[in-house]
Amino acid sequence: MSSKNAQVSYGIRKAKESDLPAIMTFDERSNKGSNPRYWQEMFARYGDEESKQLFLVCEEGPEIVGFIIGEVRDWEFGSHPCGWIFALGVRPDVRLGGIATQLYDAMCDFFKTAGVTKVRTMVYRKNHDFHSFFRSQGMMAGPFVQLERDL
């Protein structure tokens, strides 16, 4: 998979373990206290060849500039099987260049191939950039409401 955007050529491919250090430099959660072990576990779970999980990266030349992770989940909370996007990141200096859209589209293609017809994600209410991005892809509030309480 490759494409051209604003005269910059990006390639999208499955993640390799050697991509993790680059991803950690711009994953927002890493900056807030996540750690290499978290990413090793993510790669072990989602970077393999399972037919229901996918961990993609976007590269510009030799550099990793974005990633997305998703999986097909079956009958969660009584829902029909659907695709879940639960991690997405683009290096800050190349944002607004269409990279997230390409990653999102590639993930949706994977979900379609896997046989599901719905894609979902969950976004922190005050993260307006992420929220706006998913809205711009046509996503709307779904039928489920996330609830929580302190224990």
Partner: protein, 140 residues
């Protein structure tokens, strides 16, 4: 959520002009399309010009042109010009007597307001144009 008439007119005008993709429309044309008084619309348009969403084009054949940023400007940006959608001062307004009833209700109302704010802040004018296009293509 019930928006005030001025707020709705502001949204109508901004979206109609953003849809025009750099083209201009007269106040009369917008007023006629949405069945509103031109006087009321004129006040709304002035607010939108002052806020930098629209540019007034003078002279014969003049009108208004969208000059905002469809990728950055959100529904909330327009709405806030006309009415408050905020939880600032919410407790002062709603916990007047310091009762448990007020406190419980305030929690629920803050949740609703925050959800509404998140939705309005996440929908850019560009996203709205896409939604409008999709609805049009579906014949809705």
């Amino acid at each position: 959520m019930n928006l005030q008439q001025s707020t709705l007119l502001g949204l109508y005008a901004v979206l109609e002009l953003a849809k025009a993709d750099g083209g201009q429309l007269s106040a009369a044309a917008i007023a006629e399309k949405f069945g509103v008084s031109i006087n009321h619309l004129a006040k709304v348009l002035r607010t939108l010009v002052r806020a930098g969403f629209l540019q007034a084009v003078r002279g014969a054949g003049g009108g208004y042109r969208f000059c905002g940023n469809t990728k950055r400007n959100t529904l909330m940006d327009v709405i806030e010009l006309f009415e408050p959608v905020s939880i600032e001062g919410f407790e002062d307004r709603n916990l007047v007597h310091g009762t448990d009833v007020e406190a419980g209700l305030a929690l629920a109302l803050v949740e609703i307001t925050e959800m509404m704010q998140a939705t309005l802040r996440s929908i850019t004018l560009g996203t709205m144009l896409k939604i409008m296009e999709r609805k049009k293509n579906l014949g809705l």
